[in-house]
Amino acid sequence: AAGMFLRLLSDVRWRAANPKWRRMTCSRRSTSSTAEPHPVSLPAQAQVVICGGGIMGTSVAYHLSKMGWKDIVLLEQGRLAAGTTRFCAGIVSTARHVSVELKMADYSNKLYQQLEQETGVKTGYVKTGSVSLAQTQDRLISLKRIASSLNVMGIPCKIITPKQVAQLHPLINIHDLVGAMYVPEDALVSSANVSLALATAASRNGVQIHERTSVSHVSVQKGHVTAVETDRGQIQCQYFVNCAGQWAYELGHSGEEPVNIPLHACEHFYLLTHPLKEPLASNLPTIVDPDGRIYIRNWQGGILSGGFEKNPKPLFTEGRNQLEIHNLQEDWDHFEPLLSALLRRMPDLEALQIMQLVNCPESFTPDMRCIMGESPTVRGYFVLAGMNSAGISYGGGAGKYLAEWMVNGYPSENVWPLDLKRFGALQSSRTFLRHRVMEVMPLMYDLKVPRWDFQTGRQLRTSPLYDRLDAQGARWMEKHGFERVKYFVPPGKDLLDLDQSKTFYKPDWFDIVGSEVKCCKEAVCVIDMSSFTKFEISSTGDEALESLQYLFSNDLDVPVGHVVHTGMLNEKGGYENDCSIARLSKRSFFMISPTDQQVHCWAWLKNRLPHDSNLTMEDVTWKYTALNLIGPRAVDVLSELSYAPITPEHFPSLFCKEMSVGYANGIRVMSITHTGEPGFMLYIPIEYALHVYNEVMNMGQKYGIRNAGYYALRSLRIEKFFAFWGQDLDAFTTPMECGREFQVKLEKGMQFVGQEALLEQKQNGVYKRFTMFILEDHDTDIDLWPWWGEPIFRNGRYVGKTTSSAYSYTLERHVCLGFVQHFDEKTGEKLVVTADFINQGEYEIDIAGQRFQAKAKLYPFSSLFTHRRRKDEEELSGYQRE
């Protein structure tokens, strides 16, 4: 079959170069008579140029052409499907942790299934199913969580016993298994042939495919793609799609205007064997043994088995000139642990003869999720790459989403977790990528427990207080390269080390965070929140106000010194960003957004603000250290340090004032805490940070001040029903759906982005509703903890998923936040969700297959909390971010 595969490749190579390609794609026999030595010349212009003829490039071409775009050129430096795609193991697996990845894989599977019929190209599609094994109880929990997700999506999936595993596969050794997950619809394909089939269909739809054509760089004018330079001349174009796989990083950096695509290749090994004496059936399920770090599929009557080892070998750090992809060496010593795992799983294979150890590099990204979307700096420059070795599973879905993005302006699903703009230049250091991917590749098969943090590539961005906090027992996590405190380990207290504190149950920091929360409620805590993205927008005239009024849904024409919580919405009314904006003067605004908005928000505003020299926007994130002074005694600490009256009359809620704190002048103080608790955010020019921190800690001593971290903050705001962007809120959620109508001023006297959509929702009602769930029969000490992504059941029927959760130390219960939808019982059609619908149901939350009763609430428990707030402070609630 390998020979066959090569022949097919060579056929396509020159057929692609043949002008008659379009008419002849179906009749392979006729091709041999019309060999055409000279390649067709490139067109001078095209609407879209796609670089890369692997599964990604062909899938994008396929979907774009299906959606009606015809003027497309696909360029491939070698031959179609000859890179990573050719070497790919061809397993289509839907068992994914992230919901959007799961959807992509499901779509891919369905697409590949009918591709042969659609195109006439043999794809080798066989529905074999897959079995993921668990050697430990924790692994089984992890599989059960995936199974819950698959089931509510309508993908058949079962948790089975070791005995059932043995019935599914004749060779498997089950004595060390505790269970497994069976997904009967997972499939095998020949990835190169899938790619060729997609190319064939695209070509029939008018896409021009040119092989042996390399892109040298992309030309950009005024921040927009204008042309692609190749070794065979220039093509002018409006859109460029970088599907260059492991070369995507380099290609991104080849032009004058660099596009950062943070990915890095690692060697990946798999083994091919000769057939067994009694050849394996081609419909035998694929086995995934994550605890053994291997996968095993049937291949030509023998097996194909590879894995993700603990000690990966990164390569191409210095770029492609290192060595050619085809000349990579087999490394048996490196493969030894995986071979051991294979023989432990299938001892009878010992006598099987080796055919080859294939070394096929795969590209990995800093967070194990693929990279998709438009460059934040170059418009019309799209990227689809970094598949973390799941290219064939994602190929169909990813290509579809990217095509939708280009044609419609945004995909039909929330793809923020995959968006290129979640990264910036700061993740593009080669050293960072090299170190990080060495951690990411083993993670493919590591146990995914709640709240794990990357260990490599750390301490890149830090607050000036980092060393001070670290010396006081801070434990750190990282967001967008910034170190943030999770909690402070009190002196003398020993926490378990990292590996052992990985748990699906109650974590070891439970009491520590509890005492930080208590201190926030009763005294005062200080939390370093410097990582937030901070922009200053100002103008010489009224341009700033006018533009912001158009781009934000709340009314920003407030008196100077006021702070406004507002969404930055898209045309559909969905949250592109959720931020607080302080009006510093009539003509200047200070905007605070979530940490990971730094690139996305900047690009969004840059693309929409008028190109007006009177209007300036500056990223001042690095200029300020932010301290959150949180708790009832915050006011006492601050007033003693500033000698200024800070009573509610002088300093009402949602207010911003520059004042002195200790010796330092010009500290921007805002009466918000991002939690609904009383207190202040201090924005401190960085050179004063240490001084102000020391002053606050000294003065705060008599009020019982202590340091706190993000876990305390998280518990506080989730129990107050605050949604946060990036987790609860996304581009598909409107303020109306999450109870934030009050942050939308439909009548502010001018149009704003998303207004129409919101008006319509106001009239017709919403189709999902952000709801808070209090777990009732859940025992915090012994039950599995919720995380996010747990299915929600209403009267026994699936209605949605949770988006975040935390233990509320005040309610002494777990709180989950999530969206409830209303599906028609017969047709499955989405219906309007009313308050009655929410209030009149019996709810259950499914945690890894176990259901817990939950109470649904549409409004927070303000009465339960000791601190009662005035009416205007109520506005605080419903506002939050990560």
Binding site: L271, T273, Q329, E330, D331, W332, D333, F335, E336, L339, S340, L342, L343, L349, E350, A351, L352, Q353, I354, Q356, L357, T431, R434, H435, M438, E439, Q455, T456, R458, Q459
Partner: protein, 451 residues
């Protein structure tokens, strides 16, 4: 905060270099199988240098480590030049004539050395002409001298060392019209460097040493254990003979001031070195050169400072002690290293660690299945066996790297402690020098099949 193992590895492996002597007809006829070298900086920039080259006009291979002080200029110059001086000293009369004629008539020169360099080992482009002219003067003198006798390696090594040091001194006195070069030759002369150089030709191993770097032979005893044989003497205050020598060379009145606090004139640790004209020139010469030199030199307190009790220079020499050793089958490897290694590790441990490492990975040629019939079970057995053999050295493909890992990371039990290693490697530049010195190591592996 700790460096992760991959980060530690990338630091340790940054300067590693390996060279394998090429085989002919699947056989290596040389007595040297190859060498591994590496260096780990503590100073920024590193003051150690290393060189390795094969002599092309005579037989043999040259390997050397150079430990600079008061800057890296002298060590750099010696690392570039010394092997040429040695090679020229070893050349027969006819070859010297041939070379001189080629230069004279502008023909292509016979290559003298084939260098084996890590990309970070650089040669100064600017000074190459100057260096070449000095070298040419040397061989012209050798031609004129034509003794007619076959060249003795020991003598050649001594001559080359002395001649190079003399040239360094002269170049600084004469100066250069090019201000960059002028400053360079002065920096070379005013800084210093020790040198430990091995010349291997068949079973004849010569080690020429000047200063406190060290050469050590790794010997495998009949029972398989490892022992160390010194092939150099340290030239420092711990060496009684050296102290005696220095005292002999100066009047009795200076006896007390010659060696103070284990240092020459209370200042210099090594008792022999290249450069260091402050310990070689008369006070008048030093003053004259400094005053007529460029401002940078004049402003430099170190160069202007005259050592105390400086009465009868020179106090320092670059003349090496040469030890000749006939290689035996049990002599498995040679370690050349600067004092950064020997300060932290006993030679016996060095012999054991390198010995075990080399026997472990000696057979680790990569496996390739090729066209053979191999079953998964067979392959698995083979791999497990290989892994057991090398588990302790799994991470390193380079004996010098492996040795550095032990030198920096060893705990009290003599095993590498990752935490300690990580701490030592993440020390900030300004602190690193307080905890460790630059370390440079060359491990030469001998070919037992030939010896």
């Amino acid at each position: 905060f700790y460096l992760t193992p991959p980060q530690v590895n990338s630091i340790l492996k940054a300067n590693e270099y390996s060279f394998k002597v090429p085989e002919f007809d699947g056989k290596n006829v040389s007595s040297v199988l190859g060498f591994d070298s590496n260096q780990l900086p503590a100073n920024a920039p590193i003051e150690d240098r290393r060189s390795a080259a094969t002599c092309l006009q005579t037989r043999g291979m040259l390997l050397g480590v150079f430990d600079g002080h008061a800057g890296c200029a002298c060590a750099q110059a010696v690392s570039e030049r010394l092997f040429y001086y040695i090679a020229v000293s070893l050349l027969p009369h006819e070859t010297l004539l041939e070379i001189e004629n080629a230069v004279e008539s502008g023909r292509a020169l016979l290559p003298i050395l084939q260098w084996h360099k890590h990309p970070n080992d650089y040669f100064s482009k600017e000074a190459s002409k100057l260096y070449f002219n000095s070298l040419r003067t040397y061989w012209q003198e050798l031609i004129d001298l034509n003794s007619g006798e076959t060249t003795d390696v020991k003598e050649a090594l001594i001559n080359a060392f002395k001649r190079l040091d003399n040239d360094i001194s002269l170049e600084a006195q004469v100066g250069d019209p090019n201000s960059f070069l002028n400053y360079l030759v002065l920096r070379v002369a005013f800084s210093g460097a020790t040198a430990c150089v091995a010349h291997v030709d068949g079973v004849d191993l010569h080690v020429a040493n000047t200063g406190d770097s060290r050469a050590m032979l790794g010997v495998q005893e009949e029972d398989g254990s490892w022992s160390a044989v010194n092939l150099s003497y340290d030239h420092n205050a711990q060496n009684e003979h050296e102290v005696e020598r220095v005292k002999m060379e100066h009047p009795k009145s200076e006896e007390k001031s010659l060696v103070k606090q284990d240092r020459l004139l209370g200042l210099l640790m090594p008792f022999r070195a290249f450069g260091d004209v402050k310990f070689k020139w008369s006070i008048e010469l030093q003053k004259r050169v400094v005053e007529s030199g460029p401002d940078q030199l004049n402003d430099n307190e170190y160069t202007k400072f005259i050592p105390p009790n400086y009465h009868t220079p020179p106090y320092l020499t670059a003349e090496p002690e040469v030890i000749h050793h006939k290689l035996r089958p049990q002599d498995k490897f040679l370690v050349l290293a600067t004092d950064g290694l020997w300060e932290t590790m006993h030679r016996q441990d060095v012999a054991r660690i390198v010995g075990e490492y080399l026997t472990g990975v000696h057979h680790q040629q990569p496996i390739a299945v090729g066209g053979y019939k191999v079953t998964l079970g067979q392959m698995h057995g083979l791999l497990t066996e290989r892994r057991a053999r090398i588990s302790s050295v799994f991470e390193d493909q380079n004996a010098a790297t492996h040795l550095i890992r032990h030198a920096v990371g060893n705990n009290e039990f003599g095993t590498v402690d990752h935490e300690r290693l990580s701490k030592m490697l993440s020390l900030p530049e300004e602190l690193a020098r307080m905890y460790r010195d630059d370390i440079t190591i060359i491990v030469v592996q001998f070919n037992s099949h030939v010896i």
